[in-house]
Amino acid sequence: MSGKKDIRMIDIIERIGKTSINATRSFRDTLSFAFTIILKMFSKNSYSSATRMVLINQIYFTSVQILPLFIGISIILGSLLIGIVFQIIKTLGLAEYLGRILMGLVVTELSPFVTVLLIALRSSSAINAEIAVMKVNKELNTLDKFNIDVIDYLFLPRVINGVISVVLLSALFSILTLTSGLLFSKLMFGMSLDTYSNVLLNSANFYDIVISLVKCCTFGFFITLIPIRFGLHATNDLTSIPIAVLNGMVDVFIAIVLIEVLSLILSFI
């Protein structure tokens, strides 16, 4: 009995150890892959007309196609959230902190988070599946045989697109939400345009904007890089595609949470 128990305990410990090693290896591989992509990003040779074409198409599919939906969501969700926040501020008598709350909540937290969620749900899963299918169909090998650098041609435009899209869409979300906040400030507090803009300007902080920008860039980078890396994990079987997408999307979610936590820690230092 005791011998069996010991064997089970060893199995559990072994499993924990294996999982930890796999997680560490995965993290290390992701960082290594990220480093390769960053190097390529800053290399002039990486950019060709084909790369630019892919980049434009990627921006189109990720940002331009989603734009009407995104603007609608920004206005509806942003206005609702602003309305709720204003109501809470009014109830608690915290009108003095209106600007600080708006800038802190909308620009630093809400905009990047909503944008990254939307793009991750729509584009990251698509990139993950696309790369996995290409891997299963051996398209990547074909490109390699034709001496086409898959990083330059496939991965780099997608990662750059992720960074550009998250930054631009997040800024758009902030601008739209803060503009719709004007309506609520007028209705709830009787604030004029001048007063509202003064409140926002007085509370605006370059440090917040820089943190928000860095956060958006990091979000955009990893929500496209992780799906690419997990897409490459697909084997020759078609059944490996959903597994690759599933694992990739879970890691994307973990990455979003980690970046969010890190940015919060940074903003409080």
């Binding site: 074409m53 921006i59 189109y60 331009v64 734009l67 631009l168 300007l201 904007i209």
Partner: protein
């Protein structure tokens, strides 16, 4: 398709980039990023309640902020404040810098300038910050009231202790009052209660009656038709008439004395005239004597 996509993507990127750049530039402009700023250094023995980024106010208006806080070699805190050029005119050599800590809310650095014509504060000068603490001020204001309140509470405590004590003054007064009201209930009158017996009360009543009769008589003798007062009034009237007569006589005396005074003046004149006349006669007699010698010719003795 490719051209259309390129245009759409180009428009998206350009419009959103312009929006972002315009917002950031507007923010930078509003925050005074493009205006020249002056840095003044202040000192304080304590860095309590001082934070970087704290607003600097003049007449309740934000004119700058605390840039950095650092300790010098002597352990004194140096506070660098950043003031935009358009607000630097409010900081003069006689400006006072105080750290105001309200009861509720965050601390702020307040600048007060008495004379705006005094010379501008040199950035090399390091004035010291004065601490203004609302909590301490409030405690100071409340302390006398608390002391009074303490006295009141002590007095109330004493009164309640007295009330609770059966041998206390209040209880004694109450028992005496009870006795008094009991006695009052037993007796017919207040005088009877005071004197003790009904006979004494009757005696007091009789005495009072006698006094009343006596007063009636006195009243008749003093104020009656033949009383003392009408006679006094008659005498006084007579005296007044006589005094009026004396007054007239006195006026006459005054007039006579004035006349006498005038007469003496006339007498002096008369005397002068007499003197002059006598002198003239004397001269005349001398002249006559010269003309008509009355004595014999003196005998001339020959040698």
């Amino acid at each position: 398709m490719s051209k259309k996509v390129e245009v759409k993507v180009g428009l998206f990127v350009v419009i959103t980039s312009v929006l972002i750049i315009a917002s950031v530039l507007y923010l930078a402009y509003s925050k005074g990023f493009f205006t020249r700023e002056y840095i003044y250094t202040l000192s304080s023995k304590s860095g309590e309640d001082l934070t970087e980024g704290m607003p600097v106010l003049f007449s309740g208006y934000k004119i700058g902020r605390v840039e950095t806080l650092e300790l010098n070699d002597q352990g004194i805190l140096l506070i660098k404040i950043r003031i935009p050029e358009q607000h630097s005119k409010w900081i003069r050599s006689d400006s006072t810098f105080s750290l105001y800590k309200p009861l509720i809310g965050s601390s702020r650095l307040i600048i007060a300038t008495e004379n705006l014509n005094s010379p501008a504060l040199s950035p090399k000068t390091i004035p010291e910050i004065v601490m203004v603490n609302d909590i301490n001020e409030s405690i100071k204001k409340v302390q006398p009231t608390l002391a009074k309140l303490d006295k009141v509470v002590t007095n109330i405590e004493r009164i309640t202790a007295n009330l609770a004590d059966p041998q206390g003054n209040v209880n004694k007064i109450l028992s005496h009052s009870e006795k008094l009201t009991g006695n009052l209930a037993k007796k017919d009158t207040l005088i009877e209660m005071a004197t003790g017996t009904p006979e004494s009360a009757q005696s007091v009543n009789e005495s009072l009656k006698k006094i009343r009769d006596l007063l009636a008589k006195t009243d008749d003798q003093v104020y009656g038709n033949d009383g003392a007062l009408p006679l006094v009034r008659k005498i006084l009237k007579d005296i007044i008439v006589k005094l009026e007569k004396i007054n007239t006589a006195l006026d006459n005396v005054v007039k006579i004395s004035a006349d006498a005074s005038d007469s003496t003046k006339d007498l002096k004149l008369l005397r002068t005239e007499i003197d002059t006349t006598v002198n003239s006669i004397d001269k005349l007699v001398s002249d006559i004597n010269k003309i008509l010698p009355s004595k014999k010719e003196p005998e001339i003795k020959l040698p």
